[in-house]
Every structure is written in structure tokens, then in C-alpha cells.
């Protein structure tokens, strides 16, 4: 093992849920400070890959490591403090109201931190300011718009001051203007030396920020390397060519018969 383990190492990881293979022998290494996009069609296994890293889906073969610690075998010892996760679904909107601030403060909890400390509210306010939602602190989380809720979820991850940010479809339900804001924010975080891994349906405004793209198809990695930068078909680079010379990564063309059962995990 190297002295400073990589944030993410997947060695031949296979994931199966209820007899269905969702990932098949995936190898992936994300080095410290990298910004990586996970691309692919619906059901290609992007979100499953992120969840495998986090030990939240049954890994049936291989091993997933976070900063050198296996989340398959030793999840309790993994350095969760260094991880900031922004899930695709932003928590059920239940009958009980909760303010955006209350949601953000949950990001400060951890294995040995079951209670909040005095300074935690200030830290949560700072994180909300960082993503431009400071004024929403006292609003009920359930009434926020998609873009607002998404930013609150990012604040909840950032309040942990994570070395590794994992974002699952951060652009879902976010308008174009806000997307640009997100890109700036993540660019700044990247410059601070944080490692960023994003599940994306299309590159959107993130093309310039990313160092590398990993494309999945039916549970396997089919491309790992340069970003398909082409804004227009015709100027496509080699990576984009691999993706059917498509200017964005709706891989529906690549994988027309995507199995509906893989669309979402329970």
C-alpha cells in the first residue's frame, strides 16, 4: 500500500442485487486532487459505482477502498470524516418539518459524533454561505426548489470539509444559470486540492473543470481517460468518437436496449 492511499480504489468490483448484476469487475483508481466524471446511460451503473465505493450496495466480488480502507470488509474503520456525499435523492420529505439549516448540520455528525457542538451552527451557516444559500437557513427544507435543495445538499457535504466529494447527478432539476454557479463552485473546490467524483448524465457546464471521464455501459467501464470535449459533432476528439460522436453523453444511442430493471436501485 502506498504511503498516501488514493481516495478511491476499485479492484474487480462486482455488484449484484437480487440476482441482477449491476457492476461487472470494475477497476477504477481516482488519485488525490483529480476531478472525474462518471458518465453513461441510465442503468449503466454510475450511481451503483458510487454506492459501491461507499459500501452501500452488496459487493459480491473484488474490493472497494476509500483512502486505502476497504468499505466491503472494514466499513467501520473507513475515514468517513474525509468524505462528502451528495446523493441523488435528497432525503424523503416527511410530514415533520425541518429547516435547511437543520439538514446541513447533520453533515457534521459521524461515527464518534452523535451530538452537535456549540460551534456547529456557525459552521453550517458558513457552508450555506459558501454555496449561496445562507438566506435559506430557516426555510423548511420541504418547500425548497430543486436547485435550492440540491445546493443545501452540497452544503451538507461541504460542512464536513471533505477531501473527497462524491456527487450523484448534481445537475438534476437545476436550471442553466444555477448550473454555471455549480461549475464555478466545484472549480474553486477543485483548486483547493479536493478530489471530486461526479455522476453526470451529460457534461453540461463541467467540461473545463474535469480532468478525466469514466464511461460505463451495462455495468462495465468502456472508457477511462480524456474528456469528450466536442461541443459540436464533427470536432469530436478520440474519446467522443468512442461515444458515437455525440456532443453530449446521452448514451441512449450507444445502448438502445437498456434494461428497465437497472434504472434504479431499491
Amino acid at each position: 500500500m502506498p504511503l498516501t492511499p488514493d481516495p478511491i480504489e476499485l479492484d474487480g468490483v462486482s455488484v449484484a442485487v437480487g440476482g441482477t448484476r449491476l457492476l461487472e469487475a470494475v477497476d477504477l483508481r481516482v488519485r488525490s486532487g483529480e476531478a472525474v466524471a462518471l458518465l453513461g446511460a441510465n442503468g449503466s451503473g454510475k450511481s451503483t459505482l458510487v454506492r459501491a465505493v461507499l459500501g452501500q450496495v452488496p459487493v459480491v466480488a473484488g474490493d472497494a477502498r476509500l483512502f486505502g480502507v476497504s468499505t466491503r470488509h472494514a466499513a467501520a474503520r473507513a475515514p468517513w470524516r474525509r468524505v462528502g456525499y451528495v446523493p441523488q435523492r435528497l432525503g424523503a420529505v416527511s410530514g415533520v418539518p425541518a429547516t435547511a439549516l437543520e439538514v446541513v448540520t447533520t453533515g457534521l455528525l459521524g461515527r464518534r459524533r452523535l451530538r452537535l457542538r456549540r460551534a456547529d451552527t456557525d459552521r453550517a451557516h458558513q457552508a450555506m454561505e459558501q454555496v449561496g444559500v445562507a438566506d435559506l437557513a430557516d426555510r423548511p427544507f420541504g418547500v425548497l426548489s430543486g436547485g435550492q435543495a440540491q445546493r443545501v445538499a452540497i452544503a451538507r457535504a461541504l460542512v464536513r470539509d471533505p477531501d473527497l466529494l462524491l456527487l450523484d447527478e448534481p445537475l438534476a432539476g437545476v436550471d442553466v444559470l444555477t448550473q454555471a454557479t455549480f461549475a464555478r463552485l466545484l472549480g474553486d473546490l477543485h483548486e483547493q486540492g479536493r478530489t471530486i467524483v461526479m455522476v453526470l448524465h451529460e457534461l453540461g457546464p463541467f467540461g473545463d473543470l474535469l480532468d478525466r471521464a469514466v464511461v460505463l455501459r451495462a455495468g462495465s467501464v468502456v472508457h477511462d481517460g480524456a474528456i469528450p470535449r466536442a461541443e459540436h459533432p464533427g470536432t469530436a476528439g478520440p474519446a467522443a468518437a468512442h461515444l458515437h460522436e455525440h456532443d453530449h453523453l446521452h448514451l441512449d444511442h450507444v445502448m438502445p436496449t437498456e434494461p428497465a430493471t437497472q434504472r434504479s436501485l431499491p
Binding site: 452501500q56 456525499y85 432525503g91 416527511s94 415533520v96 418539518p97 453533515g107 451530538r115 435550492q148 454557479t181
Partner: protein
């Protein structure tokens, strides 16, 4: 008024009042987490299982020749309720059987089991009535001590771990990624819910236990804006309904458990009716700042990172 003060000197009333107050405060704490998890009926499921526990305790009492036939009824209820609650949580966590179906099975099994077992113990269904509908008037000193100890445990877990339990109930996937011991916290909620059921059993009865956990939360969330506020207000509503209900039944001869629940529901109805008025008042004095803030402009003008 003087009649009420006179009542306060009666030890029986004092015990009943203290039991009602303590239960009224602690049941909504657990209820807040149950409502948040959409498990409002969990308390009912546990309550039905607890009935079998009561009967099993009775059976043990009869078999061992205990001084009082019901000596082991409450311990039996605690054990059965905890087992039932942990079982429901395990089923829910695995995601195999729907929680809905698991609850239904507990409802039927719990009641039928209780009636069968009480028969085996040589008792009658009448013996179960005190547990089904509550019997505040028979709360003895030992019962009161048990209620106080269990309520202390409920409040310690429910309030002490409030943020962690909120995190797990709000977004389990994220909570897991922070390293929180999600499984243990889920079990903690289940166990505390089971304790609440057995504690409330003497006050409102197993059939109405859940109402004491859920109705104050239902009323509170109509007007509260935060989780913290919801819980606090629910505690106040629960305590108010319990104490007021008890006082009413010392004046009018009615079953305290039912009166308490009817009062709680009346409070809910009152809050629901008054809510538009309250909302308008709030908008007028505090919320003008918020109203002027359009969503679209806000999204566009958002700042970037430091």
C-alpha cells in the same frame, strides 16, 4: 378550583397526575421520529404485540405462583414490545417484506395471541381490559417508579441523540456516508418506541398508545417550521392533553385514556382550523423579508465559493 386543590392532596391522584404528565411529555418525542420515518402505525403494531406480552407475563405469574396474578404483566409487555419492535425494524431494514404487511401481521398475531395466552393462564379477557384501555386509577408506587425510570430512558435517548436520529430518519443514505452507526440508531428508535408503548399502556391503554405518540406531532407539525420546534411543541401538546384529560375525569366519571386522546385530537382540529390565521399573522410580522425573495432571481444571483 378548591375541589381541584383538594384532589392534589390525594396520593392516588398525585401518582396518576405524575404518570400522565411524564408520559404526555415523552411519548411525542418518540412520535416525532416515527412520523418522520412514515411509521406512524408502528406504535399500534408494538402495542398489539405487548398485549401478548402482558398475557405471557400473566402465564408466568400463574405458573410460578406469584403473589399477584399480574406481577409479571408489565415486564412481559416490555420484553414482547422490544422483540416486536426490533423485528419490525429488521424487516424494514432488509426491505424484503413491506413494513405495511409486517405491521398487519403483528396486529392480528398480537391480539389473538394475547387472548389465547390469557385463557391458558386461567384469566379472562376482562383481565386484559385494564391494559387495552388503561387504568390510571390503579397506578401504584412501584408502577410509578417503573414509569419514571422508563420515561427517563426514553427522554435521554430521544433528546440526547436527537440530531443523530433526525439525520438517520431524514436521509439514511447520507447518514451512512458520514459513518453514523445507522443500524444501531434504527434499533435505538425501535427499542425506545417499545418502551414508550409499555409506559403509556397504564395511561391510555394499548389500543390508544399510538395516539399519544402521533397526534401531538400531527398537531405540532401544522404550525412548526423546524424539527426542533415540532418536537418541543408536540411535548407541550402531549403534556397538556394528558393532564387536562386526567383532571376532566376526576370531575366527570369517564375513562381517562379515551378522554386524553379525544382532547389531543381536539387540539389537532383546533390547530388545523387556526392555522391559516396563524400563518397570516406570521407573514405579516416576520416573513415580509422572505416573501420579497423570488426563487428565480435567487437561484441566478447565488454566490460562488470563497
Amino acid at each position: 378550583m378548591s375541589g381541584l386543590l383538594e384532589m392534589l392532596t390525594v396520593p392516588l391522584f398525585q401518582r396518576a397526575l405524575l404518570a400522565a404528565l411524564v408520559v404526555g411529555v415523552s411519548a411525542p418525542v418518540v412520535g416525532t421520529f416515527l412520523v418522520q420515518r412514515r411509521l406512524s402505525l408502528l406504535g399500534d403494531g408494538i402495542g398489539h404485540v405487548a398485549l401478548t406480552g402482558v398475557a405471557l407475563g400473566w402465564l408466568v405469574g400463574a405458573a410460578t405462583g406469584a403473589a399477584r396474578a399480574d406481577a409479571y404483566a408489565v415486564p412481559g409487555a416490555v420484553v414482547a414490545a422490544v422483540i416486536g419492535a426490533v423485528a419490525i425494524e429488521t424487516v424494514r431494514g432488509r426491505g424484503r417484506t413491506s413494513g405495511d404487511l409486517a405491521l398487519a401481521l403483528l396486529f392480528y398475531g398480537g391480539i389473538a395471541g394475547g387472548v389465547v395466552v390469557i385463557g391458558l393462564a386461567g384469566g379472562t379477557n376482562a383481565n386484559l381490559m385494564a391494559y387495552l384501555f388503561g387504568s390510571l386509577a390503579t397506578v401504584g408506587t412501584a408502577d410509578l417508579v417503573a414509569i419514571l425510570v422508563m420515561s427517563a430512558a426514553i427522554l435521554t435517548v430521544g433528546l440526547g441523540l436527537r440530531t443523530a436520529l433526525f439525520a438517520v430518519s431524514h436521509d439514511e443514505e447520507f447518514a451512512r456516508s458520514t459513518g453514523l452507526p445507522v443500524g444501531a440508531l434504527n434499533i435505538a428508535v425501535a427499542v425506545v418506541a417499545a418502551l414508550t408503548v409499555t409506559v403509556s399502556m397504564r395511561v391510555v391503554g394499548l389500543l390508544l398508545v399510538s395516539a399519544l405518540m402521533i397526534v401531538p406531532v400531527a398537531a405540532s407539525q401544522l404550525v412548526a417550521r423546524s424539527f426542533r420546534q415540532t418536537m418541543r411543541l408536540a411535548m407541550v401538546i402531549g403534556a397538556t392533553a394528558c393532564v387536562a384529560g386526567l383532571v376532566v375525569t376526576f370531575v366527570v366519571p369517564l375513562a381517562p385514556g379515551a378522554v386524553i386522546v379525544v382532547l389531543a385530537i381536539a387540539i389537532y382540529a383546533g390547530v388545523a382550523v387556526l392555522r391559516p390565521v396563524l400563518a397570516r399573522a406570521r407573514r405579516r410580522d416576520g416573513g415580509s423579508r422572505e416573501v420579497s425573495r423570488g426563487d428565480a432571481t435567487h437561484d441566478a444571483a447565488a454566490g460562488s465559493a470563497r
